[in-house]
């Protein structure tokens, strides 16, 4: 089982992801530099958090032109599991692998704190070990997490059960006060139609072991192992 972790100039969470995959789960983990095209036999591709290309122009806008993104696109189209975390989610949006776009946060501030999310669907390679409707706490740290899309796209995401995580309070209730960035319909994470590409703003990689006071994120990585052992596109 191998996690390949894409590294752009400006990525800064690749080691967190590697630590989870290698040290906590005993899987193989390799970095893939953005200028390379070989995904090194990945079972799972992770686009980690950070500030790829300094977030110049728009978060994720320049990263999508990196040579590695063509390989990631092919991998995704072949059914490979791809997880974009925070800036990685923004890159997947700009690359068109997930629908929608990010605006600057509602309150125009970088928000760095724990949030609660309700798990809306376990039908992805990254959420199958969670219980639907359960509430998880994970940290966020972003300036552009205010998700939006045309109303028809939002409706389609809802209809097809592709909203994977929604910001909520600790009891799972959706409210403006529990929405850290103003995202439409409190959307924190979504998947593509084929359900193999998932993006979310919160950081499961930063809450994957008890030492950190929270291991709610570990199941995202564990889910992928169970879902994908023996599967390689």
């Amino acid at each position: 089982m191998k996690f390949s972790i894409v590294v752009f100039p400006g990525s800064n969470c690749e080691r967190d992801c590697e630590h989870v995959a290698r040290e906590l789960l005993g899987c193989e983990a390799e970095y893939v530099w953005h200028a390379d095209t070989d995904l090194k036999g990945a079972d799972v591709v992770i686009i980690p958090g950070g500030f790829a290309y300094g977030d110049y122009l728009r978060a994720g806008a320049l990263a999508r032109f990196s040579p590695v993104m063509e390989s990631v696109g092919r991998f995704a189209k072949a059914g490979g599991a791809v997880l974009g975390i925070c800036n990685g989610f923004q890159v997947l949006l700009e690359a068109g692998l997930l629908p929608g776009a990010m605006r600057v946060n509602r309150d125009l501030r970088y928000v760095c704190r724990d949030v609660h999310m309700r798990v809306e669907s376990r039908e992805t390679p990254f959420t199958r070990l969670y219980e639907e409707g359960s509430v998880v706490r994970m940290p966020i740290g972003h300036m552009e997490g205010n998700y939006t899309a045309p109303a028809s796209t939002l409706d389609e995401l809802e209809r097809e059960g592709r909203v994977i995580f929604r910001y909520s309070d600790e009891r799972g209730a959706i409210a403006d006060s529990a929405n850290p960035n103003g995202a439409e319909r409190a959307i924190a994470g979504i998947c593509n139609r084929e359900r193999n590409v998932v993006g979310l703003m919160p950081h499961p990689d930063r809450c994957a072991e008890p030492l950190l006071g929270n291991d709610a994120g570990l199941k995202m990585f564990q889910s992928a192992i169970g879902a994908l052992s023996g599967f390689r596109p």
Partner: protein, 79 residues
């Protein structure tokens, strides 16, 4: 040729920056400000003599990179 590409939040898309700027202008005493949308301008130097083809090229640049057309509109002016 000099080309100017303006990129701005689409009409109807919530623009938190524009809202904050509008509120600040009102606080400064510009009571008549009823709305602001904040965008960006790109000043390009593009090789070529044929205005229509340079303009068409700049439009492609806007579509492909300068604007995120999910949330942003743009216009192009060849100077």
């Amino acid at each position: 040729m000099k080309v100017e590409v303006r990129v701005y939040p689409r009409e109807g898309i919530l623009d938190p920056q524009g809202k904050a700027i509008a509120a600040a202008l009102v606080r400064l005493g510009h009571a008549g400000v009823e709305g602001v949308r904040a965008g960006k301008v790109f000043f390009l130097e593009v090789a070529g003599e044929d205005r229509p083809s340079v303009e068409a090229q700049a439009r492609r640049m806007a579509e492909e990179l300068l604007a995120n057309t999910v949330i942003e509109g743009y216009d192009v002016r060849v100077l």
